[in-house]
Amino acid sequence: MNSAHDLGGRHGFGPIAPEAENSEPVFHEDWERKALALVLAAGSLGQWNLDESRYSRESQHPVDYLRQSYYENWLSGLEKLLVEKGLVTEEELSSGRAFSKAEEELQKRVLQPEKVYSTIEKGGSTQMESDEPPEFNIGDRVRAKNRHPLTHTREPGYSRGREGIIEAHYGAHVMPDQNALGNRIGEHLYCVRFDAGELWGKDAPSKHLVFIDLWESYLEHA
């Protein structure tokens, strides 16, 4: 979807004003600790995947997405998923009170404190098998398709319609557009090299390349 999260090349956001690295805390507010932990703990119930999480954050109103801090966006995404997936009701969310316990099957999946480290250390690979041979070879000239799906995609707006060179093939990975809709399928993933001039026009500086990871169905031969 073309919304506020797709930020590459946008203007007007002002300076970055980074905090000094050696004095920047991991969390700035106590509630941020809990927001992170709730997102990770609720995510481990296995009721949604990473792309559904991203899609949930992206599909907020763009004004809210840009106005809120990052952990607030995480929180909004989590609240939305909990309701959408039927884990809590709207009424429970707005009152902060549980009207019923979660189903037993779900309670069995709750991440236990002693399993935290091993769960995080295990992670979740997105590498998949694919029966199809890769369509593109390293060095091929390709064009990122001019597509504007209304749902989740990882093809950034600034790459669409632009030509680049296949720099690497990473094998087949979970296809995010489909994964966000609950379909876990593998598709070949490539790293594509773009010249800044192709992305930003002839006044772009030379000696500037942008590498973007793009799935096969985002690409066509150029």
Binding site: A17, E21, A37, A42, L66, L75, Y170, F211, D213
Partner: protein, 203 residues
């Protein structure tokens, strides 16, 4: 932006988090001790010192550097760093001619096992919007000047591949211990917005 907003405006995040936590605990969906464990993990155990160990070892040990560039996920795991948000690693090496920078324009993808949670600026709209189109002005904000002929490579983390910059070693790295080198590696140098600072008494 106006502080007055339509009726569905979320309340103070502190209150929202508190309400959500007690709701999920009451529903039996979250164990409060698990939340504490998760926070502790990312606040005290998984952070950029992990990445600094990887970099210092790569500078000192050419065999390890080769392993790191060829099989990054395995090489990093051999030092004990693996898992969530680092399942598929790629290491990009800075040289005298090439400078790499990592971003996620679409969200905030970042190599957690080696760098921990991303800093606020990395997740911010100014960084995500500008670094792909105007990296030199971004670098200037971090006090980083590159010669005109240095090629800048910006890696937009749009997939689950996680990019990690191997900064250029300081000039006298051979005379320094692993610990000394490790202490010179900043988080920002592994994102690519800074270079390793040479000690000030050197020209």
């Amino acid at each position: 932006m106006s502080t007055h907003h339509h009726s569905t405006v979320p309340s103070d995040p502190e209150l929202r988090v508190k309400a959500l936590e007690s709701l999920l605990v009451e529903k039996g969906l979250v164990d409060p001790k698990t939340l504490d464990e998760l926070v502790d993990l990312y606040e005290t155990k998984i952070g950029p010192r992990n990445g600094a160990k990887v970099v210092a070892k790569a500078w000192k040990d050419p065999e390890f550097k080769k392993y790191l560039l060829e099989k990054p996920t395995d090489a990093i795991a051999s030092l004990g760093y693996r898992g969530r948000q680092g399942e598929h690693m790629r290491v990009v090496e800075n040289t005298a001619d090439i400078h790499n920078i990592v971003v996620c324009t679409l969200c905030s993808c970042y190599p957690w096992p080696v760098l921990g949670l991303p800093p606020v600026w990395y997740k911010s709209a100014p960084y995500r919007s500008r670094v792909v189109s105007d990296p030199r002005s971004v670098l200037e904000e971090f006090g980083t000047q590159l010669a005109e002929d240095v090629e800048i490579r910006v890696w937009d983390s749009t997939s689950e591949m996680r990019y990690f910059v191997l900064p250029e070693a300081p000039t006298d790295f051979q005379n320094k211990s692993l610990d000394e080198l490790e202490s010179m590696v900043t988080r920002n140098s592994m994102i690519g917005v800074e270079k390793i600072k040479e000690p000030e008494n050197r020209s």
